[in-house]
């Protein structure tokens, strides 16, 4: 590492880059019965919602069903959306519920978000190797997508879903807690574990010496 000072703020897209200006107009039109406005919203978010349901369920068929149900429920309950949050955030919450229902149905004894998280010694990273700048650029986009899909799939579901909401969908810690019925400290401890485990899993692909 060349600098002893770190910028602690990840370079994330601002909400204004995620939400297009016309979204409230489209939502209002869809509420008024304009099906094409709702289809525009579906087209805008279908890829992200499918990635979300795929990441949570780790099953293609379940992911597809959960995505479909999420969009259908969103349309049917659109009148309940009061605009207090982004439409996308509201949609994500519906999709997460659908995906978790699929996951629990398939793995009823495995998936519990309520279990205590051990914060013991194993959190201390085992491999401490520098990755150098822009490690993701060393891979083609499809290759990178495979790596990310594989590593997040290996996470425990209770960590995976928190990381998905907090760091991929960029919900706030409080929104994530509310969506999953967890306390804020529980979200924070799962998020820390998820980030550390993913960092460790990605280390084999990104440490200096790979792809160089």
């Amino acid at each position: 590492m060349s600098s002893s000072k770190l910028d602690p703020t990840p370079r994330r897209p601002l909400p204004s880059q995620v939400v297009k200006d016309d979204e409230p107009v489209l939502v209002a039109a869809a509420k008024g019965g304009d099906v094409s406005a709702f289809e525009t919203l579906v087209g805008r978010y279908e890829r992200k919602i499918f990635r979300l349901t795929q990441n949570i369920t780790q099953n293609r068929e379940d992911a597809e069903d959960a995505m479909q149900e999420a969009f259908l429920k969103a349309y049917e309950h659109l009148q309940n959306f009061e605009g207090n949050s982004r439409f996308y955030t509201w949609l994500v919450r519906i999709a997460v519920n659908q995906a978790l229902m699929k996951l629990r149905k398939r793995r009823p004894n495995v998936v519990s978000l309520d279990e205590e998280v051990d914060t013991g010694e194993d959190m201390v990273p085992r491999e401490v190797e520098d990755w150098g700048p822009s490690p993701a650029d060393r891979y083609a986009q499809t290759e990178l997508a495979d790596i990310l899909g594989k590593t997040i799939g290996e996470l425990d579901p209770s960590f995976r879903v928190v990381f998905q909401l907090r760091d991929i969908e960029e919900l706030s810690t409080e929104e994530t807690a509310e969506a999953l019925g967890l306390t804020v400290p529980a979200v924070k401890s799962r998020l820390l574990r998820a980030r550390l485990k993913l960092r460790q899993a990605l280390n084999q692909y990104f440490h200096r010496g790979e792809h160089q």
Partner: protein, 79 residues
């Protein structure tokens, strides 16, 4: 400050949710400890890589089934 404290506070540090005094202590430690600097930096990169990754296009068969299901249900809701 011990390295373990850096790990414990890592999520809040990256999310800028720490009080300024603790943040200063952490940055002083990071200035001296290369291993912790690397852990913080690679953890930050992990978040960025996932956050910035573009979702793959929907498989065409999945997309067709989604829009067929929507068309069917939306017609029913409107009727």
């Amino acid at each position: 400050m011990k390295c373990k404290t850096i790990i414990t506070e890592l999520a809040d540090y990256l999310d800028e949710a720490l009080d300024p005094a603790l943040r200063t202590q952490i940055e002083e430690h990071l200035g001296k400890c290369k291993d912790c600097r690397v852990v913080v930096d690679t953890c930050k990169q992990t978040i960025e890589i996932f956050c910035n990754s573009e979702p793959a296009p929907l498989p065409s068969s999945t997309r067709v089934r989604l829009h067929e299901a929507l068309a069917k249900r939306l017609r029913r809701v409107r009727a």
